[in-house]
């Protein structure tokens, strides 16, 4: 029993944090709001250079050959800066899907490109028909029931949808399955779909924790600085207690997210329950912190010139998508109680 990250892992997190602070400042997120496609900035290339995109890619394909506990902190950092690029989809979902399910020729084609940062791979699940960043994908991996298909992005029609988070570019993808396009199907297919869903949840949960951490940090800084009635508003107990509550929510969501990463990495049979717990707690933490952050900022937080709103909206979008906290409590409930007694 050792529930901590290694010194190297923590050092790597720091590297990624510094890199993203430089390459994905709020202006980059704002550019995505203005319509700039995701992946327009330099962050992606730098993430690839330090090994984030290829973390789960085997070494023989140019990757790091590491596991989800090595990747999770980097994804948390991607949440902290509200990175608009499809990092979860490419690095955490697509890479292991191709690694585990693709024939050698396909794996050799795509995995090295993922590791070098040359390929963005976007995975579309039936569960969530609005696919973010489908417009910048070099490869689409689309679910069709129990099957995953490899789809050429130049051969699909995309329809744009609008999210409350303007930096999330959502699309419905109009595509056709062929016998050649199938990557995996049947029993293995269902297993792949479930694994992909669980990985997506892990990544989104890590990002939600990062988003919450950023909103809390920003607010702590603001309330120390902002004076009313002759004192910093952070000296008022009503402000202190709201922010203490934020920290508590955040600190108890984190270990669930880290455990979920470990359970996926070790193919724990309860991994699905574990990621659902992570998603439920991370969603609730992020929406709670968003609400308190806005309240402690007051009117300035309510403007679109101030950056906070971009983080809040990302948090709202990610918390409600891929199952909100109630959905995931129901999923955990099935593990505790057995199949959903919807009749009770």
């Amino acid at each position: 029993m050792q529930f901590s990250f290694t010194e190297d892992q923590v050092l790597f997190q720091r590297t990624v944090r510094d890199l993203l602070a430089k390459e994905c400042p709020p202006e980059v997120v704002r550019a995505a709001w203005e319509g700039e496609p995701a992946h327009a900035g330099r962050a992606w290339g730098r993430l690839a250079e330090v090994g984030v995109t290829g973390m789960l890619v085997p070494e023989e394909h140019g990757g790091m050959g590491l596991d989800e506990t090595d990747l999770v902190l980097a994804l948390e950092e991607s949440g902290r800066v509200a990175l608009p690029d499809p990092i979860v989809s490419t690095a955490l979902v697509a890479a292991p899907l191709l690694r585990d399910r693709a024939p050698q020729a396909i794996a050799s084609k795509w995995l090295p490109r993922i590791a070098t940062g040359d390929a963005l791979v976007v995975v579309g699940l039936d569960e969530s028909p609005n696919v973010p960043s489908a417009d910048v994908a070099d490869l689409l991996i689309m679910q069709l029931g129990s099957e995953f298909h490899l789809v050429d992005p130049t051969k699909v029609t995309l329809n744009r949808h609008s999210s409350v988070d303007g930096s999330r570019h959502l699309f419905t993808v109009d595509w056709r399955a062929t016998d050649e396009s199938m990557l995996v199907g049947g029993e293995q297919g269902w297993q792949s779909v479930n694994e992909a869903f669980d990985r997506l949840l892990l990544g989104v949960s890590a990002q939600l924790v990062g988003l919450a951490a950023h909103m809390l940090d920003t607010t702590v800084t603001y309330v120390k600085d902002r004076h009313q009635f002759g004192v910093p508003i952070g000296s008022f107990q009503a402000i202190k207690h709201q922010l203490a509550d934020c920290l508590i929510k955040l600190e108890f969501a984190r270990p669930l997210v880290y455990r979920a990463a470990y359970s996926i990495a070790t193919t724990n049979p309860d991994a699905s329950s574990h990621v659902s717990m992570a998603k439920a707690f991370a969603s609730d933490a992020a929406t709670f912190v968003a609400g308190r952050a806005l309240q402690c900022h007051g009117a300035i937080g309510y403007t679109d010139e101030y950056d906070l709103h971009m983080w809040m909206k990302r948090a709202w979008a990610l918390a409600s998508r891929y199952g909100d906290s109630r959905f995931h409590r129901r999923r955990v409930g099935r593990a505790i109680f057995g199949p959903d007694p919807q009749t009770q």
């Binding site: 569960e127 409350v164 419905t172 009635f229 402000i239 009117a299 309510y302």
Partner: protein, 386 residues
């Protein structure tokens, strides 16, 4: 206790309902907190005024009907039930007008009220400044005595719809020597006066509804001082009570939201968590409680009572209920909550998410709920200040 309505009141309700049914635009107007939407709303306001529904409780000479407070609440219930457009004139009608009636000069009343009721002139509130939000006494914008009036300088901020309005009412520091709450004066200022600059600021809900207003040596004649020189704080506190109290948030608003939430539940309940039924009912009951509380308040006012700090109880309740109602709606929408477009997938054009964001302003504006709870604790419960 008599919770029924008189035949006259019922007749008034029927008349209002029929007029609204015939006149409320079929398609929702674009948001009144955008430049285009504001203009479209003014057309609607004009229609209301022409039918003498824009200010039913005002005297007939200013465009009203001398309606009772009870009729006013009935009007509001019907207005929201009919899903009629948001009132872009509300800051003038609900915040400024009560003060004009109370402390305004005859000249001021004649000059401003009718034009306000018709929407010909529109008013925004100039209170907050970069360093004066919750602590309004921190206002530093100055009013300097000049020949025949005053010269205003400084900056106001978070001025709702300031970029579209014609006039501003606000507080300026007329006596720099006096203490924090003293030495403020309340002014009425046309925004086309020389030296005024207005910059629109976007809000998180995507509308441009805020403004910063800069004053650079702006002349205001003495006749536009409201309620006396250096008396602005006590005048402003009158406004605060009405802003926080029932006038700005009539129960009809929340009853309409609750009804929409019930409809949403009926559409979505097979997909949603069974526990949400309880929350929907709680929301519906909350709106009902708010309605009854309002009738209690209205009765108290008719019987000569004063709202006073009870307005803070009211404000905390409705603002947090409004957030909660929208959170319940978003939970019912689940993965569709984030969609804000007009596609067939997005429910109600994303209006719940939009409404949620609007609701989030409730606990902040007109005195944050932290300030309101201080007021409740200190002025109602009598707990000691620090």
């Amino acid at each position: 206790m008599d919770l029924s309505f008189t035949a006259e009141e019922e007749a008034f309700r029927d008349e209002v309902r029929a007029w609204l049914a015939a006149n409320v635009p079929r398609e929702p107007l674009p948001s009144g907190d955008t430049r285009d939407g504001f203009a479209r709303h003014l057309e609607w306001e004009r229609k209301l005024f022409d039918a003498r529904y824009s200010v039913v409780s005002w005297p007939a000479e200013y465009g009203g009907r001398d309606a009772s407070l009870i009729e006013w609440v009935i009007f509001e219930e019907e207005y929201y039930r009919a899903a009629a457009p948001q009132r872009v004139t509300q800051n003038g009608i609900f915040l400024l007008a009560p003060i004009l009636f109370e402390v305004g000069t005859d000249w001021q009343k004649d000059r401003y009220l009718r034009a306000m009721a018709s929407g010909e002139e529109t008013w925004c509130q100039g209170w907050s400044e970069p360093n004066a939000g919750s602590d309004l006494a921190g206002i530093v914008s100055k009013a300097r005595r000049v020949d025949g009036g005053w010269s205003l300088s400084g900056q106001k901020t978070w001025t709702t719809r300031g970029a579209f309005c014609t006039h501003l009412f606000g507080l300026f520091r007329s006596d720099p020597e006096a203490g924090r709450h003293r030495g403020l004066t309340y002014f009425l200022v046309p925004l086309d006066a020389d030296g005024v600059t207005v910059n629109g600021v976007g809000r998180l809900d995507g509308d441009e509804g805020f403004a910063e207003v800069f004053f650079d040596d702006v002349f205001v004649p003495d006749r536009d001082v409201l309620g006396g020189v250096d008396n602005g704080w006590s005048v402003a506190m009158t406004t605060t009570n009405s802003e926080r109290g029932l006038t700005l948030r009539s129960p009809g608003r929340f009853m309409a939201t609750a009804d929409r939430l019930v409809d949403l539940y009926q559409q979505r309940h097979e997909l949603a968590d069974p526990g949400l039924r309880d929350e929907v009912v709680q929301a519906w009951m909350g709106a009902e409680a708010y309605r009854l509380y309002t009738w209690q308040t209205v009765t108290k006012m008719i019987e000569g009572g004063d709202i006073g700090p009870d307005a803070s109880i009211n404000k905390v309740f409705w603002s947090e209920m409004d957030v909660k109602m929208h959170e319940t709606a978003l939970a019912l929408l689940g993965p569709l909550a984030e969609l804000v477009d007009t596609s067939s997938e997005a429910v109600d054009r994303g209006s719940w998410m939009k409404g949620f964001q609007f609701a989030l302003s409730g606990p902040i504006y007109a005195g944050t709920n932290e300030i309101q709870r201080n007021i409740i604790a200190e002025r109602v419960l009598g707990l000691p200040r620090r």
